[in-house]
């Protein structure tokens, strides 16, 4: 069922509800109420009527009592010889237009006077409507009675009957108290106060009584039919008026959905809610159109961004991988743009550090290549960590040897760079001593020690190679000298040149070592040995048939006793 049909039906239903309620009220509640009102009105009329009848009977009785009190009634004693009572009664009967007769009886119940002369001399039958005793006016002795033969017509003629309201009088004493009431009538009844045996009925035809209601109902039915037709027409027009623009909106929306043409608009020249809806619809479509444009632009941007991100991530990955092959300082200076990746170099005074593993070939000869790789990587990682900690520039790894320099690309100053370099070398030696215990614990029979040499001198630093393959490094005699110093250094110690010594002597305790004339140098070079803080604390012997490491700082008294015992037993 379409919304239009629903709207029409709803409007018709809503419009018919008052009719239906009115009809129900008229049909039941109001009809019942109306009947009560009718009966109430009829009761009121009946009360007036019965009061009139009662009053009439009362007047009759009073009249009779008055007549009975007259002197003329003494004529009963003379059998109304002069017809004076007869004349009086006849006159009274005529005055009252009585249907019936007045009789006067003597004490023997013989009618001595009557308004009906034929009754004179007859005995009274004793059934009289009303009987007033007669007393003589002179001694109040009972003379007889004044009777009324009263036809009920005398009362019923007082009724003001009309076509639809009918009174009737019932003498229940004659009907044994049972009265058959007419059917299909509105009936009210009332007994006379003075004559309880007399009941007055007031009846009215149902058809007449409810004629007004029936007429009203007919009018309502006619109005209902006409109203329903009008309401249907109005509902149809209203539904059209309401729904036509909505259908237009719906069709436009469908067209836009089908064609994706967001330039379409709805034109409804109205200022009501529907007009506002169409404006809102147009505004929404306009918004959607703009939003689609933005979405397209944004989508393109996002695609670009995603591509850039991918490229950036790829570059990031590449640079991360690449950073492994470069010193962090070099890497950072290149990637931050501080340094151009061009074949260029500069002359700088740097502090150069060389180290290598003592008897690396001999030590690792018997090792499996996996163990060797693991051991070497462990060693290099540890040393690299220390170098980075001190801000060194790791130039390259040459097998087991490490080449490091301070002063480029970052420099703390020449002296400070030299101090940091010596300090780094001491840390490396100390760390190697610690590692020796770990390596031994891990099953490496001959844990190696390292030599370290340091020299400070001018070098050429920069990118060397070709445009396609270049290397950031340092070259110069200072580099060679540093390498020579390292090769002449004692295992487990740090040897420095005099140039370096002059820079760090305030900080480190150094002692002169043997001078050497390195290959390629014409003059001997004076070497200094840096005193290690824990030289006296750690004893390390690694000879054929003897491998011994003693850390005095960590050894306990009990261990010391065990060591003495072992040495005594062995030697």
């Amino acid at each position: 069922m379409s919304f239009k049909t629903k709207t029409i039906l709803l409007l018709i239903t809503l419009s018919l509800i008052p009719y239906v309620i009115t009809m129900i009220i008229l049909g039941k509640a109001y009809r019942s109420d109306y009947e009560s009102r009718l009966k109430s009105d009829m009761n009121h009329q009946l009360l007036i009527t019965t009061d009139r009848l009662d009053q009439s009977l009362e007047i009759l009785e009073n009249d009779l009592r008055f007549i009975a009190s007259l002197d003329i009634m003494n004529d009963v004693l003379t059998d109304d010889l002069d017809r004076r009572i007869f004349k009086l009664l006849s006159m009274k009967k005529e005055d009252m237009d009585l249907i019936g007769s007045f009789d006067v009886i003597n004490t023997e119940s013989i009618i001595v006077a009557s308004s009906d002369t034929e009754r004179i001399g007859k005995a009274s039958d004793g059934e009289n409507f009303m009987r007033i005793p007669l007393f003589s006016t002179f001694d109040q002795s009972l003379l007889g009675g004044l009777l009324v033969n009263y036809d009920l017509v005398n009362l019923s003629r007082l009724f003001s009957n009309d076509t639809h309201l009918r009174y009737s009088l019932y003498d229940t004493s004659l009907t044994s108290g049972e009265v058959t009431y007419p059917e299909n009538q509105l009936i009210v009844k009332r007994t006379l106060q003075n004559r309880p045996e007399l009941t007055v009925l007031l009846e009215q035809d149902y058809d007449f009584a409810f004629a007004v209601l029936d007429k009203l109902a007919s009018s309502f039915y006619m109005t209902l039919i006409i109203g329903t037709l009008l309401i249907t027409a109005v509902a149809y027009a209203t539904a059209n008026y309401i729904l036509k623009p909505i259908l237009l909106l719906s069709n436009t929306a469908n067209t836009i959905t089908r064609t994706q043409d967001y330039s379409k608009r709805v034109t409804i020249e109205r200022t009501d809610e529907i007009g506002q809806l169409s404006l809102a619809f147009n505004s929404m479509i306009s918004g959607m159109q703009q939003m689609l444009v933005r979405l397209n632009e944004e989508s393109e941007n996002r695609i670009k961004l995603a591509e850039e991100k991918n490229r950036s991530e790829m570059l990031q990955n590449l640079s991360t991988k690449l950073s492994k092959y470069l010193s962090p300082q070099v890497f950072n200076s290149i990637f931050s743009g501080e340094r151009d990746v061009t074949l260029s170099s500069s002359r700088k005074k740097l502090t150069i550090f060389f180290s290598d593993i003592v008897d690396f070939t001999g030590t690792t000869d018997k090792m499996e290549s996996e163990d060797l790789t693991q051991l070497l990587n462990h060693y290099l990682r540890e040393m690299t960590d220390i170098a980075l900690k001190y801000g060194a520039t790791i130039d390259k790894y040459i097998g087991d040897a490490i080449m490091i320099f301070f002063g480029d690309p970052d420099s703390q100053g020449l002296k400070e760079d030299a101090k940091l370099c010596v300090e780094m070398a001491i840390s490396m030696q100390n760390r190697v001593r610690e590692l020796q215990s770990e390596w031994q614990a891990n099953g490496y029979i001959k844990p190696f020690s390292i030599r370290a040499g340091i020299h400070t001198g001018y070098c050429t630093v920069g990118n060397f190679g070709t445009e396609n393959r270049m290397d950031y490094t340092i070259v110069g005699s200072a580099v060679n000298l540093a390498s020579r110093i390292e090769s002449n250094a004692e295992p487990g110690n740090v040897f420095i040149s005099e140039d370096t010594f002059l820079l760090v002597r305030d900080t480190f305790d150094c002692c002169p070592a043997t001078s050497v004339t390195p290959k390629g140098f014409s003059l001997p070079v004076k070497l200094f040995k840096v005193k290690m803080e824990d030289d006296a604390q750690i004893l390390s012997i690694n000879e054929d048939g003897l491998q011994l490491i003693i850390d005095k700082a960590r050894i306990t008294e009990e261990t010391r006793k065990q060591l003495r015992g072992v040495i005594d037993n062995m030697i």
Partner: protein
């Protein structure tokens, strides 16, 4: 002359005394015997209601009939105007005039039937059922 006149007047009196036309009567069963003029007058003016233990009930003839005129002039000794004034005064004192009957026959019948009733009639209407207690 005086003697003649006296005789004539005496003679003139004889027929009147010997033949009165109207009489006051009661029922023959009544205990009332004879009444004098004043007593009859008092009864009909209701100044006297009893004769011994018998309650007296005077009956008047209604209208302007000759017997009533004669009774009022001869016995009551009052004209109609005086009688009317009398009963108006007495009416307000609670005394009503005597009941009436329309005819002499009714008066006779009434007197016959009602104990203590006393009425006046022409003499010729008197029979055995009645007793004359006064003549006028």
């Amino acid at each position: 002359m005086r003697v003649v006149f006296f005789i004539i007047s005496i003679l003139a009196q004889v027929p009147l005394l010997a033949v009165s036309d109207y009489v006051v009567v009661v029922s023959k069963n009544s205990t009332v015997e004879a009444l004098d003029s004043d007593m009859v007058r008092d009864v009909f003016l209701k100044k006297r209601n009893f004769d011994g233990h018998t309650r007296l009930l005077p009956i008047n003839l209604i209208g302007e009939k000759p017997v009533r005129q004669e009774f009022e002039s001869s016995v009551l000794k009052m004209n109609r105007e005086a009688i009317k004034r009398y009963w108006v005064v007495n009416h307000f004192q609670g005394v009503s005039p005597p009941p009436t009957q329309a005819s002499l026959q009714s008066v006779k019948s009434f007197v016959e039937k009602v104990k203590g009733a006393i009425g006046y009639l022409p003499r010729e209407m008197v029979d055995d059922s009645l007793r004359i207690i006064y003549e006028f």
